[in-house]
């Protein structure tokens, strides 16, 4: 905003610059939205139009029934329910556990705290995939394959990224908050639940949205750990849109993937203000 005050020159040259700027921005935005727009169009075509070569740009008649067909060809709602269950389990647990751990790192001191925090930050750089395959074998031994227990365990153990988010937020709160409570004989867990947690709505919601999005979007863990009827929408949309004869039904797959993506887009659009506020109050920005 103040950048305008930095540019005393106004006039034709500036106006041309702005025109170029807006044209460039609109073009880039168009490119960025293109793939998703094309997915929507593809989902509303007939199979013949979708297979046509050269490309058949728009459907002659918009095939709204593709949406209903995409629901019916597979157990769409069942898979969506599975996705919703594990995303809610994981997001709720990991938000609470990460807040809990983050409080410890922000407000309490102990020998070894710095080292542990270093390991925690370092583990953010640890590729998930490297632990996931052996984790699968361990869960298989424990009989946890094909259950939602892995998501409970992952949720309870907190996530370094979210711990960091909470630590930054809690570290910024004034010290008087806990001092009065300590004088009154309140324990640290009481301070956490009754004083710090109610203060942290922006971070709690940001953390919940982030964790929910991770789980909803995850493809590999459910693919590895869950059987076909317990699996999530991510896996189902990717691999189950075939006819009984085994031929893939791409137009329905496109329609289904739009429906798979839309909840995340909606959550993002609804939450983005609070989300950005949550990110910026933590100083992570």
């Amino acid at each position: 905003m103040t950048a305008t005050s930095l540019t005393p020159r106004r006039g034709p040259r500036l106006r041309v610059n702005r025109l170029v700027l807006y044209t460039v921005l609109v073009a880039i935005t168009g490119l960025f939205l293109g793939p998703f727009g094309w997915l929507v169009i593809s989902g509303l075509k007939t199979p013949a139009e979708l297979a046509a070569s050269p490309v058949h740009w728009l459907p002659d008649h918009v095939q709204w029934h593709n949406i209903a067909d995409a629901f019916n060809l597979i157990d769409f709602l069942g898979y969506a329910r599975n996705s919703l269950i594990i995303a809610l389990i994981y997001a709720t647990l990991v938000t609470l556990s990460s807040a809990w751990v983050g409080f410890g790192f922000a407000r309490l001191e102990a020998p070894g705290r710095k080292t542990l925090f270093g390991i925690l930050l370092g583990s953010m750089m640890l590729p998930q995939m490297i632990t996931l395959l052996p984790t699968y074998l361990i869960f298989a031994k424990l009989g946890m394959v094909d259950t939602y227990w892995p998501w409970v365990l992952w949720g309870l153990s907190s996530a370094p990224y979210l711990v960091f988010l909470f630590r930054q937020f809690f570290a910024g709160l004034p010290r008087e908050l806990e001092e009065a409570a300590i004088v009154d004989g309140c324990g640290y867990s009481g301070i956490f639940w009754r004083i710090f947690l109610p203060q942290s709505w922006p971070v709690l919601s940001a953390s919940f949205v982030i964790a929910f999005t991770w789980t909803w979007g995850d493809y590999i863990a459910p693919q590895l750990l869950l059987s076909t009827d317990r699996t999530t929408l991510a896996v189902a949309v990717m691999s189950t849109y075939v006819t009984s004869a085994g031929t893939p039904v791409t137009n329905l797959q496109a329609a289904a993937s739009v429906m798979y993506v839309v909840p995340i887009l909606l959550i993002f659009l609804v939450a983005q203000r609070g989300f950005v506020a949550g990110m910026s109050t933590t100083g992570l920005k």
């Binding site: 921005l25 960025f32 740009w57 102990a110 052996p134 493809y219």
Partner: protein, 330 residues
């Protein structure tokens, strides 16, 4: 940590029940209570890290010395056999080379794109918030959605990409086959540059305005002040993006999601140009059931990532500026 706490607990219980807690309080001082409280708060992460990260990695290390295939009971210890095989496996080297190439092209490109977008949407614009939101949107699309969208877009017959080429009289390309599939892969990364944009944008807004104003008064061009002020002050953010970008590109599953057949069997039918190291691991693991060998591949990858991250930190230690004290900002 728990070991040195035990004596004091025993002490209190055993020594003086009559003295009550008041007498022993000074010994378990406020500091000690805070130490204990810290470990109580940190324990979910410590236990989780030990059980869900260290244990699987140790298990993978053990498996990497065996011929374990998950089913057959007749597996045995082979020492460094898997590692020896891995180094003589042409596919390991080729896929590693492709992964390296993918990382060193897609990471800088997406950082440049993200930073460029951040500079654009940091200007006073109408509907600035709308542009920011729309450009960020692809970054929240789950990989499966992105995979299917790009498959439709770059389909050889019906894809819009070839449709546009046709408008210019260019023949349709087999985008999702060799050698073009690798470019589609890079485009999927660039598509999510909004992620980098948002974080760079926050970094841009942290740059003290006086710096840029002073440069302007001294007659510095926009490009000059971008290069000499903005980029150095943003360098910690850019370093963070580089490290996380490299790690993400090493473990991308996008080649699988772009494949005609995204199942374990389909991994072996991937176009060669998108057969990255992680796909090689998947193929050995899922398609051939060679868990021991795949574990060795994973451990080699882990060590390589450590080395690469270390090298990135070392190479940038002279160019990354942390001179804005984060505490002083508040």
């Amino acid at each position: 940590m728990t070991v040195d706490q035990i004596p004091s607990v025993v002490d209190r219980r055993g020594s003086a029940p009559a003295a009550g807690s008041a007498a022993s309080r000074p010994r378990t001082s406020i500091a000690t209570r805070r130490h204990r409280a810290f470990y109580m708060f940190a324990s979910p992460w410590i236990i989780g890290f030990a059980l869900l990260t260290i244990a699987p990695m140790a298990y993978a290390l053990w498996l990497s010395f065996t011929t374990f295939d998950g089913i057959s009971p007749r597996w045995h210890y082979v020492g460094f056999g898997n590692y020896r095989e891995l180094f003589s496996d042409a596919q390991t080297w080729k896929s590693l080379g492709r992964t390296g190439l993918f990382a060193i092209t897609s990471v800088p490109l997406s950082i440049i794109a993200g930073l460029g977008l951040a500079v654009l949407v940091n200007r006073p614009l109408k509907a600035r918030g709308l542009f920011r939101t729309l450009l960020y949107l692809p970054a929240v699309v789950p990989p499966v959605g992105a995979g299917i969208a790009f498959k439709q877009l770059f389909d050889q017959n019906s894809g819009a990409a070839n449709g546009v080429l046709n408008l210019f009289g260019i023949d349709a390309l087999g985008w999702l086959a060799d050698p073009y599939a690798r470019y589609v892969l890079i485009m999927t990364v660039l598509w999510t540059a909004g992620n980098i944009m948002i974080i760079s944008l926050a970094g841009l807004q942290d740059i003290p305005r006086e710096f840029l104003e002073a440069a302007r008064i001294d007659g510095a061009s926009a490009w000059r002040s971008f290069r000499s002020i903005t980029v150095p002050l943003l360098s910690p953010v850019l370093l963070f993006q580089t490290v996380t970008g490299v790690i993400a590109s090493v473990q991308t599953i996008m080649p699988l999601l772009l494949a005609p057949d995204p199942t374990p069997a389909g991994i072996t039918a991937l176009p060669q140009s998108t057969y990255l190291y992680m796909m090689h691991v998947f193929a050995e693991y899922f398609a051939f059931g060679r868990y021991g060998y795949a574990s060795a591949l994973l451990w080699v990858l882990f060590v390589l990532i450590l080395v690469a991250t270390g090298l990135i930190f070392k190479a940038t230690s002279g160019v990354v500026f942390y001179n804005v004290d984060p505490e002083a900002k508040k």
